[in-house]
Amino acid sequence: MEEHQEAGKEGKPSSTAVDLHGDSSLQVEISDAVSERDKVKFTVQTKSCLPHFAQTEFSVVRQHEEFIWLHDAYVENEEYAGLIIPPAPPRPDFEASREKLQKLGEGDSSITREEFAKMKQELEAEYLAIFKKTVAMHEVFLQRLAAHPTLRRDHNFFVFLEYGQDLSVRGKNRKELLGGFLRNIVKSADEALITGMSGLKEVDDFFEHERTFLLEYHTRIRDACLRADRVMHSHKCLADDYIPISAALSSLGTQEVNQLKTSFLKLAELFERLRKLEGRMASDEDLKLSDMLRYYMRDSQAAKDLLYRRLRALADYENANKALDKARTRNREVRTAESHQQLCCQRFERLSDSAKQELMDFKSRRVSSFRKNLIELAELELKHAKLQGPPGTPCQGAMETRSWGNKGGTLAASLAIFQCQQALHGKGGGGQDTWV
């Protein structure tokens, strides 16, 4: 399915809220995206007045694999070990949606034309939503990179942004995937070992606290994300369920006569309205809640990675110390041991410093984006509730609105409190305020 997309300024939740450190020298955005069969091509547009670049405005076409390549390049770079690398955007996955569309197309003779049209519309909307989301994810990735003072100076990044030709980065083949997988296992084993090691003592309380916090937080947010997904999914199923019901009711209505007919037709209409309402609820929840949770799940994973690297550095430092001591006692290769130890020490300290900074940024970022999304969620739900408000609304509709009204109301109230607190403590905004 060919689709051109004006990279969702419309549908996307705030692509423009990129707050650079007062330095608009590098602005990146995805201005267009095309979906071709199973590939998505993003048009990355850069506006910059940095001297490094040949022009002030230019754009290139990139594919998902190239984004992954960029991400990996960052991860593997030793220099950035002390930073939280923004999580890579997830692969665009239209499989499920495409399957459903196909199944619908193959046709079930028992559904009426109206039903078919409605379901097709729903599926198309779903496809579009997924598409928009994936564009947004990719864009956020780039924007975070551009906003980070250190990361934006990476050479690979420049190449990514500027190089006109195809970067000829092939997707990971199976061996590499397997390798990556194994590496993850090794990493987690290593982590367990390090923390289990009796000798290793966390020198800094801050980090100790952060560590425990992050571990717990990550699991919980992963949990919440999963469940939010499930809620959204069943909500969507519910909305879709109304379609055959209203179709059946209206066909019943056309067959019957007099008062029963009008009742049936009215019921059918009611169900149609309910469906739209439910559908919108589901998509709101999806955008505001699930996506945010998912993004922070990944982000907290990245933060955990950072902590791990620091820990690793600490372990190395300890080892270097021990080696130095051993060398001193044996009085052999003291020099190398010493320099090695120095290196390790420096590395560790560097990591600790930057990690501290990063983690604090992470926190503020997280808090502000939660706030923004929750507020928006509440507002949207209130809006829906009000739309359904007018008198003469059938009872069911009224119940729905009451429920959403309640939810919106309490949520808005709590978020108002939240906002006040924020203002008081002056923690709002922070450095990098991304769309999430």
Partner: protein, 494 residues
């Protein structure tokens, strides 16, 4: 009995009408005296209306309904066969004595007058009257099913329901009474009513279905929500079933029904057990019926029936589809509420682990709100759609009963056809005998012919009767369907 009153001054069919009157009288007596051995069951026509209207209904209805009955028996010109096989299954006991002079006269007088009225007019009027009655809620009887109690233990346990009747109909001995019944009792009642009335053309409301899984759970004693749900569902279904049954004027007269409502001890209806011999017999019968239906090819002379049948087919299909969708909706709603609950919990946990206090509080509030939503969803699911879905399945079963009635009509027609064919053959044999000149065989043949002629006429009459009954029943059905269907609708809009 007969000696106590004058035979009504009617024209043809005197003895037969007399007998009919007798039966009618008997029914009237029941309103006056207490009934021990319950008198004969109602005639398959408007006589039943007589009863109820007699107790508390408007006079004119009585007139019209008499006419209806009159009409039917105007067709019954045969003297011979009114002690007919058709009446046998209906009559369950000897007519009881004593007639008060009041009622017969009122009964007789209008009857004479109305003989001259033409049939269709009467029919329409009766239909209207029936509608009026239904609207005016003349059937002053209220039935409630409540207090499900578990009796017994283990696999022999069962749920006993309290059936409470409040009525001002004088055919019942008390105005308020209640008995304890179990599910198989209800099924037994239904099978008795069905065997008596279905093949004459009445639409007998179907009983709720057996559910082995559900009952087993209850028996085993699982106290979880699904078994309480099941019991509640069943209780509501039983209540609706009884209410529908008593709304039917003919069925209301049935002694079995009265026994069911009144007597404290009821013989255990063993035939309704799923794994009994009777159950298997029923299954075999059902299969045989299905095959029969495919083979009988009836040329429908009456367009009304064809149209109605088509309508019911369509309605059935659509209701089934609707029902399936509504079930899916209810299921998804339940899923949604479960998922929301789970999400609420994890959001609360997230709020707990969150450092930043305000955010933490916001998150836990989110969790609370989600929980409330979840509960609201559950309420919604159970209140509106649940009821809707239950009603739909009731209707689907009712329509199946209606179809069954139509099938019976077809079978009746078949019998009639068969009788005619046999008659023809017998006549041929007779002719052959005539030719061959065998006197004794001729006599035998003549006897057989007479027998079969009677059967043919009987068959014809049966057929006519069943057609008429079906027409009336369908009329009632459609009306009641409107009202019942309108009710939840109206509630929803309110």
């Amino acid at each position: 009995m007969a000696a106590e009153r004058e035979p009504p001054p009617l024209g043809d069919g005197k003895p037969t009408d007399f007998e009919e009157l007798e039966d009618g009288e008997d029914l009237f007596t029941s309103t006056v005296s207490t009934l021990e051995s319950s008198p004969s069951s109602p005639e398959p026509t408007g006589l039943a209306e007589d009863i109820s209207t007699n107790s508390n209904g408007p006079k004119p209805a009585e007139v019209v309904l008499d006419d209806d009955r009159e009409d039917l028996f105007a067709e019954a010109t045969e003297e011979v066969s009114l002690d007919s096989p058709e009446r046998e299954p209906i009559l369950s006991s000897e007519p009881s004595p004593a007639v008060t002079p009041v009622t017969p006269t009122t009964l007789i007088a209008p009857r004479i007058e109305s003989k001259s009225l033409s049939a269709p007019v009467i029919f329409d009027r009766s239909r209207e009257e029936i509608e009026e009655e239904a609207n005016g809620d003349v059937f002053d009887i209220e039935i409630g099913v409540s207090d499900p109690e578990k009796v017994g233990d283990g696999m022999n346990a069962y749920m006993a329901y309290r059936v409470t009747t409040k009525t001002s109909l004088s055919m019942f001995s008390k105005s308020e009474f209640s008995v304890k019944r179990r599910f198989s009792d209800f099924l037994g009642l239904h099978s008795k009513l069905a065997s008596k009335y279905l093949h004459v053309g009445y639409i007998v409301p179907p009983a709720p279905e057996k559910s082995i899984v559900g009952m087993t759970k209850v028996k085993v004693g699982k106290e979880d929500s699904s078994s309480t749900e099941f019991v509640e569902k069943r209780r509501a279904a039983l209540e609706r079933y009884l209410q529908r049954t008593v709304k039917h004027p003919t069925l209301l007269q049935d002694p079995d029904l009265r026994q069911f409502l009144e007597s404290s001890e009821l013989p255990r209806a063993v035939n309704t057990q799923a794994l009994s011999g009777a159950g298997i017999l029923r299954m075999v019968n059902k299969a045989a019926d299905a095959v029969n239906k495919m083979t009988i090819k009836m040329n429908e002379s009456d367009a009304w029936f064809e149209e109605k049948q088509q309508q019911f087919e369509n309605l059935d299909q659509q209701l089934r589809k609707l029902h399936a969708s509504v079930e899916a909706l209810v299921c998804h709603r339940k899923e949604l509420s479960a998922n929301t609950a789970a999400f609420a919990k994890s959001a609360a946990m997230l709020g707990n682990s969150e450092d930043h206090t305000a955010l933490s509080r916001a998150l836990s509030q989110l969790a609370e709100v989600e929980e409330k939503i979840d509960q609201l969803h559950q309420e919604q699911a159970f209140a509106d759609f649940y009821m809707f879905s239950e009603l739909l399945s009731d209707y689907i079963r009712l329509i199946a009963a209606v179809k069954g009635v139509f099938d019976h009509r077809m079978k009746c027609w078949q019998k009639w056809e068969d009788a005619q064919i046999t008659l023809l053959k017998k006549r041929e044999t007779e002719a052959k005998m005539m030719v061959a000149n065998k006197p004794d065989k001729i006599q035998q043949a003549k006897n057989e012919i007479r027998e079969w002629e009677a059967k043919v006429q009987q068959g014809e009459r049966d057929f006519e009767q069943i057609s008429k009954t079906i027409r009336k029943e369908v009329g009632r059905f459609e009306l009641i369907k409107y009202w019942e269907a309108f009710l939840p609708e109206a509630k929803a809009i309110a």
